[in-house]
Symmetry: C2
Subunit: 209 residues, 2 copies
């Protein structure tokens, strides 16, 4: 794999597998071996979660072996996403269990922890030479109906999974995006040491609560 | 670092840095070098986010260099958490920007994407020999007031950051937890290929929506 460590965060080098992870849209037809799929979701399970609830669930549809689930996930997407996602050999839905199992109270961190699990599986996928691309552009209701989700479970995101394909195969407009450099906010825009920015005076005035 | 790859997911080996990540409570007094702190948060920035919004923000309080912020975060925690978290050299709060920057509409994935970023920084921390432990047991309102967060920003979790300490230093009850093996649900409890479990009949009956 190309060493892109320094592309994303040149001044603060991060783990190559983190720097290499991106959300591509070009997929090869090559299927995902079952063992790789299992490693990826075992990685999801390694994530932290509030009360150890592990509120994440995933439905997977493989074009090769579970085509109806694949089609149901694909058809939940907006047209724009279907146009490229239909090349991926595997589609998946992340789902949050909204209430805690131990007391049935709402879990404020349910979606947060699904995010932790999916971020982690994306990293394992990258390590295996695979890639995922998550989408918010899908019908939550269609997923709920297609898979008859019980109450208390909420579809969070759909995503593609597979091996990298040829960017030239993508529709116009997406081809350029595929190979564009990744950009991120500089640290100073989201990391605030000592207090919220713009409050340099006030923040030292107040005693801690 | 000990190779614990196979402890968590013996049948499906995952990246060692994922298997090694855990949420310990024993911290050494050793401060976190600024460069390590910056690498950790640069890793957070590498996470995926809906519309590339990067809705995560972090306030960091270091005992050595921003003690008032440190104390404000510490005192937002419940007593149980304060009892061990006060050993960590750095405390932090993750914060979600709730609305999209491009159109000010609610971002359904704001907390989800904060989860993605924090999961990613936890992995980078592990790589650097550091550790974090996230907590839901804190007062959202105290954080909001202490740091005068503007409307539209929500405190999500607080966490410790530092180098591993001696488990023997922990209060009774936590000492054993610190070294207990990590356990996770088996794949079959959260990964569903082809449809929601228990609906094996129904799920092939229905046409995709």
């Amino acid at each position: 794999m190309a060493d892109t460590t320094n592309v994303l965060a040149p001044e603060h080098p991060i783990l190559p597998v983190l720097a290499q992870r991106r959300s591509p849209r070009a997929y090869a037809a090559q299927p995902v071996p079952t063992e790789a799929l299992h490693q990826i979701f075992a990685a999801a399970a390694s994530a932290a979660s509030c009360f150890g609830e592990q509120p994440w669930r995933y439905i997977v549809g493989s074009r090769a072996s579970s085509a109806k689930a694949y089609d149901a996930i694909l058809s939940s997407m907006g047209e724009f996403n279907q146009a490229w996602a239909n090349q991926a050999p595997v589609l998946a839905v992340s789902i949050a269990k909204l209430n805690f199992s131990h007391d049935d109270n709402p879990n404020r961190h349910a979606l947060h922890d699904v995010g932790q699990a999916t971020a982690t599986l994306a990293i394992q996928a990258t390590e295996l030479g695979l890639q995922i691309h998550q989408m918010a552009g899908f019908s939550v209701d269609k997923i709920r109906e297609s898979f008859r989700l019980p109450a208390g479970y909420e579809p969070v995101a759909v995503f593609t999974l597979g091996y990298p394909g040829d960017p030239a195969s993508l529709p116009d407009g997406l081809r350029e995006k595929e190979t564009a450099p990744r950009t991120r906010k500089p640290l100073a825009e989201f990391l605030f040491e000592g207090g919220w920015p713009g409050l340099e005076e006030e923040r030292y005035d107040q005693a801690p609560v």
